[in-house]
Amino acid sequence: MEDLSYYKEKRSEDWRVELRKTKKAKERTLMERISMLEQDAVERSQNIEEVNLGLTEEMALVEAQRCLDCANPTCITGCPVGINIPGFIKKIEVKDFLGAAEVLKDTNTLPAVCGRVCPQEKQCENSCFYTVQLKKPPVAIGYLERFAADYERNSGKMAIPKVATNNGIKVAIIGSGPAGLAASADLVKFGYDVTVFEALHEIGGVLKYGIPEFRLPNEIVDVEIENLRKMGVKFRTNFIVGKTASFDDLRAQGYQAFFVGSGAGLPRFMNIPGENSIGIFSSNEYLTRVNLMKAADNNYDTPVSFGDTIAVIGGGNTAMDSVRTAKRLGAKRAVIIYRRSIEEMPARVEEVKHAQEEGIEFMNLHNPVEYIADQDGHVKQMRLQKMKLGEPDASGRRRPIPIDGSEFLMDVDAVVVSVGVSPNPLIPSSLKDLETTKWGTIVVNQDTMQSSVKDIFAGGDIVRGGATVILAMGDGRKAAAGIHDYLMEKVKKN
């Protein structure tokens, strides 16, 4: 249990005490959870606009009243970075929406992003008093977080955080995903000369290349990046650290510390026969080509035609993003092939629900064992094996067991393999003294995020393998504090 003394102090402020008295707890618990406004399912499956439309002010005010402002806020312990959840919700209840955004930004660099993509149903909302004690739908923490962040952005009063005077000490951030952006924000606030190096031509990492517009509009990420620019963070795109320049090159240019947030950009495959056929993509390639390279637009340099039947292998959020993208690009049949049942899918419940509403076909308890290509080497069929569920594995989910003799062929025009990604091996392999795990992740001190190479810190997917956006940001912030301590110590010694 984290130290909640700061939270208790805030909860004892007069306005909070008075607010709790304005409505009895019983009345609050009798209120129904608000539903998110959404685009019509048929309509949205033909456009790339955001599916969730957000809450109106009135809806947010009503939902904020449901929060009981608990003395023991279990929701905070359910949040990986310990956001003061009742703190920001009560600000909403008193219509101080900008104040709510400020509370969020104390611990969360990108609340508008987290309000959209965090798996709240597994984290804060899963630990909410309503869920745990009352067995009722939890307070819509995620919706309210998004509301406060969007309100601030649309108000034109988005505060640019104060930054300390530039101390001239150069720090390099490698990767511009959530971990890198969070680290850069804190480091520039401390006064460092921060440059973010990004391998692709767009800033934002997985937030841009991996998450489609209909779930996270690029505009949301761009506003945050623009704020970082205004705070003094410099960005260099098309720059691959380890190839374009080595760590030693950057050290020679005066960089005194590094934060590696290079993510998990190496797609994994299943290594089954025929998987090298034309028309079989990794979800990374598929989503990057569509999200960043406009592959669906024939006016661009690298258009691709994906065909009528698209099968997506996997059951995570990336698989849902891929299959829903396929539907939007005109697939008549967009199908999820997943080897466990729908209950075991790692994707967010909301994403599965949205996919179902949009007409995505789910073939659960099926697994591909072979791909068959036509004369030109283009995939035309997949051999699927039926599965059954066995005993639970270490994740507590029942293990998929193949049913012998159950294989059958299914016609496909393209396949997107979305069975996970591995840490990008470029940086670990370019530094021989860097300690890594057998899974290719970088070993760090969990308090400071410092690696075995003293001036290199790391966080996000390159450390955890697979992390949620909020955990990656938490790592970035922890590493920024670690880098600050390391550099101050160094300055003191010199």
Partner: protein, 331 residues
């Protein structure tokens, strides 16, 4: 000096003692030691599905400490499999470079699709042959014998489409018509059949009321199963037969050769007596051959097989009849 050479699956072996797929054949140093002590060939350790599952669970427990996303490790078993396959291919290459005896790769098969991709890579890595280790226990009461048997033929047909090197099948005796199954399998493109696979078997600890592992090693008495079935099938099959399970001494090897085996596979006795024991077994065989004036193995191979024996009924007798009938009760 007697000649111990034999041919098995088209491969020339300096003697009929093959080291069975086991931990003994899981690394190059051990394989070199086995060759130095006279092994005729080695069958490399199999990659088992269970090992992949155990590593997967271990990985998930580790990753959980970092609050990693389920999505990341949902299909991680494929990655573990890929790594294990890659290590295995390296073992084949290293073993081939280090020893001159035949190196037979082993594939643990549970379904026809599972490892076909792997077979091609094994051939490319330089293995001299492949042994399909069919670990299929017919324990599902809903499945017919025909369904269970079909899996074996599917495995052979699928693998043979992928590779040109000789392929053998190591099988169990859990069939309703074992003789026909062995005969029909021998008529496929298999070059060898190994009788019989030894499954892990459960036992009970009656004090702790727990399920435990039964004997890990075979005992000499286990050899009666391969001895009977090789004797019965030796002259009726269209491919080579090798014997395994319960072969612990030189005399046991001689028995299997007399039954009609082209080679034998040993593991338990080497675990218990060390690699040097291969030399002892070979010496026993040589001395026996000298005693019986045999210059080479072909002179006595299958001499006691059912087909060459006047009293063939011995091999098919299932009742002890006279033995117990004439033995007086001492109760």
């Amino acid at each position: 000096m007697v000649d111990l050479t034999t041919r098995y699956m088209g491969l020339s072996l300096k003697n009929p003692i093959i080291i069975a797929s086991s931990g003994l054949t899981g690394n190059v140093e051990s394989i070199k030691k086995l060759e130095a002590n006279g092994a005729g060939a080695v069958v490399l350790k199999s990659i088992f599905e269970e090992e992949i599952i155990m590593e997967y669970d271990h990985m998930m427990n580790k990753m959980d400490q970092f609050e990693s996303d389920y999505e990341y490790f949902d299909y991680y078993d494929y990655k573990i499999k890929e790594e294990n396959v890659s290590k295995y291919l390296q073992l084949i290459k290293d073993a081939k470079a280090a020893v001159s005896i035949p190196v037979i790769a082993s594939i643990n098969c549970v379904s026809s699709h599972e490892w076909t991709y792997f077979a091609k890579k094994i051939e490319e890595a330089g293995a001299d042959a492949i042994e399909l280790n069919a670990f299929i226990l017919p324990s599902d009461p809903e499945r017919s014998s025909a369904e269970n048997e079909k899996v074996y033929f599917d495995i052979v047909n699928t693998i043979k489409k992928e590779v040109k090197i000789p392929v053998a099948m190591k099988m169990s005796y859990y069939f309703s018509n074992l003789a026909q199954m062995i005969k029909k399998l021998s008529e496929t493109e298999l070059k060898g059949i190994v009788l019989f696979n030894r499954f892990y078997s459960p036992d009970f600890d009656i004090e702790e009321l727990k399920v435990i592992s039964s004997h890990i090693f075979s005992t000499q008495s286990d050899q009666v199963m391969p001895l009977r079935w090789i004797s019965i099938m030796a002259e009726k099959v269209s491919c080579d037969l090798a014997a395994t399970t319960g072969i612990h001494k030189g005399e046991d090897v001689i028995k299997m050769l007399l039954a009609g085996a082209k080679a034998v596979q040993v593991a338990s006795t080497i675990y218990q007596n060390g690699a040097e024991y291969i030399q002892t077994m070979l010496k026993e065989i040589e001395e026996w051959m000298e005693r019986h004036n045999y210059l080479n193995i072909d002179q006595f191979r299958a001499k006691l097989s059912q087909a060459k024996n006047e009293n063939g009924a011995h091999y098919e007798r299932v009742q002890f009849m006279r033995y117990f009938g004439e033995k007086e009760s001492t109760l």
